[in-house]
Every structure is written in structure tokens, then in C-alpha cells.
């Protein structure tokens, strides 16, 4: 008689399903398939897909590569902490270190150029949150994630850390310039 009693019709599985219910099930199913197809469509035709390129690494290995990149491409330093501003060669590779509690170094990019930005963490999980664009990518220690990015607008951008990484998490702010 009701949902708290055994089905009154002992052969409930033989009861026909009403047309309206069938229709709703069909809508839900088709919609699910459309949403599924949408993701694949975007992989083929869309311009915003998260890169698949990732390697296992260690903090030492990644830091060494990043230091080399910084040594070769630094154009100036900024702030009283002398954070290097590093111009990533157009179409080339840039390295961004996430560590307690800084994004290092400052990257300088050009609008319309495509860069391979390598992301990794030296310690805990961090969150690469590019603002005000609002792109958010998890950064995990032991993994080097190579993300191809093409800035579409000039400006000064902030990298907020949006994965909790300890007491200084809120002060972990980085910078990207797009010329």
C-alpha cells in the first residue's frame, strides 16, 4: 500500500510502467548521453582542455629544472624579496614552483603565444587558481604537470593558492604578467 510496507502487488516487477514515467526516464537518459558527448566534443573542438601531460618527479628534480629555467630567462627582480621575473620564451617551457607559501617565480608571458607551463609542488598539495580568469588546477607533490596555456588578454594576474596548505595558505599569492 505504501513505501513502508511490502509492495501490495507481490509481482510488482510485472506491473507496467506508466508512459509519463517512461518519458521522464528517457529524457534523463538522453540528457546524460548529451552531457557525456559534450565533454568529448569539447576535447575535439573546444579550446579549453586540461592537459594530459604529467610525469612523476621529485621536489629535487623539479627544483633543479626550474632553477635552470630561472637562471637562463630572468629579466629583472621585483618586490623587496627580489623575486625573479622570468620571461618565458614564446612557445617555450616555463616552470612554476608551488611551495610553502609562495608561487615561484613570477612569469612573464605574451598575449596570443602558447606556453608549456610546468607545475609541481615541493611539499604539500597546492591549488593553482589564476585570477581573475578563474582557472583552477590541483598541484600535487611528486607530479610534474605540463599545462599548455595561451593568454588571451594583457594584464597582471594573480595566482591564488586554493588548496589548503597550512597556516600561511592565505599569503600564498603569485603573479603572472601578460604583455
Amino acid at each position: 500500500m505504501s513505501a513502508i510496507l511490502p509492495p501490495s502487488d507481490r509481482l510488482w516487477w510485472k506491473q507496467p510502467i506508466d508512459k509519463v514515467e517512461w518519458a521522464w526516464i528517457a529524457i534523463a537518459f538522453v540528457w546524460g548521453m548529451i552531457m557525456f558527448a559534450m565533454m568529448i566534443y569539447w576535447h575535439v573542438y573546444g579550446k579549453q582542455n586540461l592537459s594530459n601531460e604529467a610525469y612523476k618527479t621529485t621536489p629535487e628534480m623539479f627544483a633543479a629544472k626550474a632553477e635552470k629555467f630561472i637562471a637562463e630567462n630572468t629579466v629583472r627582480t621585483e618586490t623587496d624579496q627580489n623575486i625573479p621575473v622570468v620571461k618565458v620564451p614564446a612557445g617555450g617551457d616555463g616552470y612554476l614552483i608551488a611551495r610553502l607559501w609562495a608561487w615561484y617565480p613570477i612569469l612573464e608571458l605574451e598575449k596570443g603565444q602558447t606556453y608549456k607551463i610546468h607545475l609541481s609542488s615541493m611539499d604539500y598539495n597546492h591549488g593553482f587558481s589564476l585570477q581573475p580568469v578563474n582557472i583552477n588546477i590541483q598541484v600535487i607533490p611528486g607530479y610534474e604537470h605540463v599545462v599548455k596555456m595561451t593568454p588571451t588578454k594583457e594584464g597582471t594576474y594573480a595566482i591564488v593558492c586554493n588548496e589548503y596548505c597550512g597556516i600561511g595558505h592565505h599569503s600564498m599569492l603569485g603573479r603572472i604578467y601578460v604583455k
Partner: protein, 564 residues
Amino acid sequence: MATTYRTCPVSGLQFEDQAEKLMRWNAVAGVLWLLVGGITALLVILTRWPAIKLLPADQFYLILTAHGIDMLILWILFFEMAVLYFASSTLLRCRLATPKIAWLGFWLMVVGGIMANVAIFQGESSVMFTSYVPMQAAPHFYLGIILVAVGALLGVAVFFGTLVVAKKDKTYQGSLPLVTFGALTAAIIATFTILAGAGILLPTFLWSVGLIKEIDAQLYRMVWWGLGHSSQQINVAAHVSVWYLTAAVIFGAKPLSEKVSRFAFLLYILFLQLASAHHLLSDPGMSAEWKVLNTSYFMYFAVMASMIHGFTVPGAIEAAQRRKGYTNGLFEWLRKAPWGNPVFSGMFISLVSFGFLGGISGVVLGTEQINMLMHNTFYVPGHFHTTVVTGTTLAFMSITYLLVPVLFRREMILPKLCQIQPYLFGISMSVLGLVMMGAGTLGVSRRHWDMAFSGAPFQYEWPGAAYLMMGLTGIFGVIAVIGGGLWILLVVGSLLFGKKLDGGKVSDRPTPIPGNTQAASAVAHGSDHVPVPGTVVLALLLFVCFVLYYFVNWKYLSEVWLLS
């Protein structure tokens, strides 16, 4: 073991003595955790409210860790144990299998919960409930959670055992009631969820005491979300069961189709485990193929299941109301529903808020590429406060208005306040979820102490609208805390001071559920089919919102930097 059975004179429900005690203790323990969780909620919200910013950073992260554990794990799990015992022993009118083990499970959960809280409040375990490695908490933080999990697993085992007892003692005929079937789904999901949890928490515990050197950070996230996501499915299965239960008790509603509703529950079991992937969409270590397959193709069957329940629950209510003669227009059945009864109003707000806010936002958030717009932003807690709070918590709150008289034999005090509580809590929490999602859409981070980034080498100024959203978060958060606090006050007040009600006849043998009469099964054979046009309109409205919001987000995505 000798036991007794009490038939409640109000509801006709039959409570076995041991099961009744366990339900009471579990529910009360749940409410106490909700109290602790509610206090932490107030502190969290007053800190995230930029104009107030109450706590210093270290205390904020400590309190937020406690909020996650006490709410999501302890409040919900304890209450779910009560639901499981209710759905088995009470609805099937049989004795509880091995009550000793059920008590052992209960006390393990209590000890574990206290242990984890001690670890958190000692200050060395502010790692959030997700405790991503390599950030490390004190060993007794992990141990506490493991004890809670083991205790819950024992409770689940007792539930399964009780189903066997009912079958053996023939206390019912035919198939399980739908509500019990839903609880069974929840229990099955709970079993493999807790096993996944053991798979990750045991090594993490060993690592915290130095017996294991390293745990891969990506692997941890993957296995942890095997626990973290599917446990949300336990909650969904549980609160959907509570919706059906409410519809049955208030309206005498029967499912539109047993087959469809049960099939939808089954889909939860079949396709849920895979959905843990949608927490890893913006992670480096997994391929796009893996992400698309796991989140979508399979997850959408679980989405489909929820869409089905979202249709059949109001549909069952509409059909029951129309049978009673509320047949005018599309919505007389809804207008004439008992809006002054908190059991119903809470359940209906839960249904609408879960469907329109929690459901839609969850699917959008779980779309591979769109996830990049929201991952780890305030959107995420915004989303799940409209699933696990307005969905699960509110459903549990509203069914409690029924349980207090029936199970605790007390009349609810202050009925006028009881009437407004679901509205106060449900609406403010829904708005809270919305403005949190709004702030997240503007980029504001979750788990973040300071929007002004004090101490950072640079400045970043959030858009004014983000501050507005966070201010509204503060206001509606405080109202929600008042709404939740009111519920605790009403429930605890009623348990202590409510008018004592007659317990009803006690017997030392269970009265089985009577078999079907000829007439009842004739009725069941479709001869009483009632169309449900109002529900169709509501469902189509949901669908239109869903589609629009989904594509709006693709549009947003197409406007950001190019990524490949």
C-alpha cells in the same frame, strides 16, 4: 534473547526494545555532534565574513577541520545508524540481530569520534577532513576516524543480519518495503565505501606513526575519494529513503511504480563508485579518457537515478493527494498539502533544494572541463551545503519531528516554532548555498582565511561582487545557524520537557505485517492509476533550469585562456 515489542498507538509502528534503545542513543549522539558542528559552523561563517573575520588563521583551520568531521562524518553517520535500525527492525517488525554487536559499534563510533575531536582540538591535526598527504595529523586523528568507520561497519552488518532475521521469522511477506530497500542500497554502498576508507586510512595511520615511509599524494587522493564520494551516495540513498518514508506516513503515498523506484536505487549501487573521479578532474595524474569515462558515462546513470527519484517522490504525493480529491488544476494537491506540518514542509524543501540547487550544481561541477572553473573554489562547499545540508540534514531534521513522539514518546514543545523551523533553516541554507556558489564563480577560494592576502608579497583585489557575496554568505550563514540551533533546542527541549505520551501495548512477540487482502492486490493492479500533471510540470521546470545552467557554464569556459 528475550525482548519485547511495543506498538506505538499514534503511528502503528512496532518497536523492538533493543532496536528502539539503539535508535534513540544513535539519534541523540547525532544531535549532540550536530550541536558541536553548529558551533563550529558559526565560528567558520563569522571568520569568512570579511567584515567580521573573527578567528585568527590557526584557529580558523582547526575549527574548519572540526566542522567537516563533526558534521559530515559524525552527525550524519550516527543519524544514519538510527535510520538503518528503523528501516530494518521497525519497518519489518522483527527483532534486531545481535544487539550486542550493534552496541559495540555504537561505542566504537563514540570513542572514535571523541578521539578524532581531541586530536583536532589539541591543535596538531588541522588537516581538514580530507587529510591529504603529505600534510600530517596526529596518529589518534586517523585512529579515531578508523574506529568510527569500524563501528559504522558493525552497524551495517547488524542491519544486514536483521534483514535475514525478518526473512527467517517471516515477519513480512513478499518483497522488502521500498524504504527498507533504499536503506539496503545505502548499506551496501556503505560497505564498500568503508572498505575503501580502510584501504587508505590504515596506511595513512601507519605512516603517521612512522611505519610507512611515504604515501603517493595522487594515489591518496584517488583512494580517499573512493571513500569520500561514495559516502555521499550513502547520504543520498538514505535521504531519498526518508523522502519516501515521509510521503508514505503523511499522505499514505505509494510509489508510482515499485519497479522504477527500486531500479533507480539499484543504479546508485552500480554506478556510484566510479563517480569518485569527479573530485580529481583538475588533477595531473589521471588521463582525460579516464576522467571522461569515469565521471560521465557512468556517473550520469547515478544522475539519472536521482532524476527518477526527483520525479517519483513528488509524483507519489501528487497521486495520493489527487486520490483524496485535490484534483483542481495543476497544483491544488501541492497547495493543500500540510505546509504547517514540519515533517512535510522540511521534506519538501529538502527535495526542491536538493534537486534544483544541489543536483544541478553537482553535475555541472562534475563535468570534466567545466570543473576547472570551480575546482577548490567556494563553489564546492556551496554545492554540497545544498546536498548534504538542505538535502540530507534537512530530511533528517524533518523526520525527527515524527520520531520524537513515536520513538521518544514525547510531544514536541512549542509547535509554532516547530512549524517555522524547516522554513528558516531550509530557505536560509539554500540561499547560503547559492551565494557561496556565486562567490566561487567569481573565484573566491574555499578553506581560505583571508581574502586580503595579508602577508603576501603582492596584492590582489577581488571584484566588489565577490565581497558582496561573502557578506551575504555571512548573513545567511548566521540565519542558518539560528535555524539549526532552533531545531536542536526544540528537539532536546521536547525530549526533556515535552508531554509524555502513552507508549502503547507491549508484547513479548512481534505481530507480523498482515498479508495482502484480495482487495488490496486488485487495487494494486493499476486500476487506480492517477495521472500526475503537476509533477510533470515541476520536472520539466527542473530540466529547463538544468540545461540552461549547464550550457551557460560552457559559455563561461569558452571565454577563459586557451588550455590544452
